[in-house]
């Protein structure tokens, strides 16, 4: 189901109330004109699955954090932040996989510059 960013937490709380207590994955997809974030939730006892999709404008990506609803969302949101550049509001987010990242941009976006200069001490010296 496609919903809007404002209704995200409500919908997820509703789903959790209906029994979808298990979060499988939060995936991000970069369609060139928009960024979709998909929340896959599952009802373990009745073996049903549901997908919640939120479409975001690439220049205005701010999402509320769903950690209060599903605790498993913590690490998935951290990778969303560092791989897509999506800001997560509501709590302190640190990078997960690429900790000492001094390149520019978000890797999984389609407009990520391959081979863009990755600044290190040596490269700064070489340029100067």
């Amino acid at each position: 189901m496609k919903i809007e960013r404002g209704k995200l937490i409500e919908t997820l709380k509703e789903l959790k109330g209906k029994g979808y207590k298990y979060l499988v994955k939060i995936a991000g997809v970069d369609n060139i004109n928009s960024i979709s974030v998909l929340y896959f939730v599952r009802d373990i006892d009745n073996n049903k699955e549901e997908v919640v999709e939120v479409e975001l404008d690439p220049n205005d990506t701010a999402l509320p954090s769903v950690e209060e609803v599903y605790k498993a969302a913590d690490w998935y949101e951290r990778t969303l932040y560092e791989m897509f550049g999506i800001e997560i509001k509501g709590r302190q987010i640190r990078r997960l996989l690429l900790e000492k990242w001094n390149g520019k941009g978000a890797p999984l976006r389609k407009n990520f510059e391959w081979g863009a200069p990755y600044e290190t001490k040596q490269s700064k010296k070489a340029v100067a």
Binding site: L23, V24, K25, V29, L38, F40, I44, L97, E99, F112
Partner: protein
């Protein structure tokens, strides 16, 4: 007054590159913070720039202990995107090979867990010897001991060799005896029991809330296994039963894996009796240029570590987006919750019972 110690990325335990910042209050753990990413290779981004068959190599190296599981998961996603059906005989062959892979992976886990508990590599050497016999079998079929590349859309790359069944049944008899011996050896050791029972308890609610998967989830009493809840290949015909223990501690997770090994042995024997004759060879490599029929594909597979979930958006030649959820990633994030309140000495025992592979974590 809490102190933070750093269990650095290089350590003599056999876990791979994992950095843990442990917050200690005396000898009790108050918080554990894993820092990962030392083995991050950007598989998801690389997959968008490679053609479908070129990606199989990347997928295998996600989990280097049980590579066939990801091989199979990805090829299943490609099959579904192209609308290709798996041949009957190939379903059974894939089941047999996956279950053999599972036994081999659990044997390696057993050796490293015993090593973490202080057993001086003895059980490690013995289980590697047994795992070697299975890798030999798989080599006869696929040509390689570790990175098989033997799955093709619609089937496998070649049929099983003629004496595969005989050899496998011999190896399975041998392994069954060894597993019983290892179980007896560990469970009659009072020190092992004291170091695993009651250590690292994960309750049922927390397991579901935090997203645990695989034997970690089943060790806490949740009866969810992808092979029985979303059956694929020949599992429903072989009468697969998920193994569940209810205590939620390290001993329960250990026991779930031992029982899974025995269940795998039983299923392989049964599969050999029921396997149909016919053709099992999948599409050869050069034919794979899928005009994608189903654009958005979801695949759930049960790797030895837990459930792998692939979400693929298929384009003409390459995947547009390949999103993988690996089980070790989410199992590692449980460590903060599980290890609170235990002693520092238990930390590696708990990590051993979670069965992590760092390449699986970092993807």
């Amino acid at each position: 007054m809490t102190t933070k110690i750093n269990i650095g990325p290089i350590h003599p335990s056999t876990h791979g590159v994992l950095r843990l910042v442990v917050e200690l209050d005396g000898d009790t753990i108050v918080g554990v913070e894993p820092h990962i990413g030392f083995l991050h290779r950007g598989v998801e981004k690389l997959a968008e720039n490679r053609m479908y068959m070129q990606n199989i190599g990347y997928m295998e190296k996600i989990d280097y202990v049980a590579p066939m599981a990801y091989d199979d998961a990805y090829v299943a996603a490609v099959e579904e995107a192209m609308g290709v059906e798996v041949k009957e005989r190939a379903k059974y062959i894939r089941t047999i090979l996956l279950e053999l892979q599972r036994i081999a992976s659990h044997l390696l886990w057993l050796g490293t867990m015993a090593n973490d508990l202080g057993q001086f590599y003895t059980l490690f050497m013995w289980t590697f010897r047994d795992r070697d016999k299975i890798l030999r079998l798989l080599q006869e079929h696929a040509g390689a001991r570790m990175f098989y590349l033997n799955m093709r859309p619609g089937g496998v790359v070649r049929d099983l060799p003629p004496d595969f069944e005989e050899n496998t049944l011999q190896v399975l008899d041998y392994i069954e005896k060894r597993i019983t011996e290892y179980e007896h050896y560990l469970e009659s050791n009072q020190v092992f029991i004291e170091r695993t029972k009651g250590i690292g308890v994960l309750s049922r609610e927390m397991a579901i809330e935090l997203g645990a998967t695989g034997p970690v989830l089943r060790g806490s009493g949740v009866n969810y296994d992808t092979r029985s809840n979303k059956p694929y290949y020949a599992y429903s015909e072989l009468g697969f039963r998920p193994q569940v223990m209810f205590a939620g501690d390290s001993f329960a997770r250990y026991k779930v894996r031992m029982l899974e090994m025995k269940e795998s042995i039983r299923m392989v024997r049964e599969a050999f009796k029921k396997i149909p004759e016919g053709d099992a060879v999948g599409m050869p490599v050069r034919l794979i240029m899928p005009q994608a029929k189903n654009k958005i594909v979801t695949v759930n597979r049960e790797t030895p570590r837990g459930e792998a979930f692939i979400y693929m958006i298929a384009d003409k030649e390459r995947p547009y987006r390949l999103s993988i959820r690996t089980p070790s990633f989410i199992n590692l994030s449980l460590i903060n919750e599980i290890a609170k309140g235990s002693r520092l000495a238990d930390l590696f025992a708990i990590l051993g019972s979670l069965d992590l592979v760092m390449a699986d974590v970092d993807l």
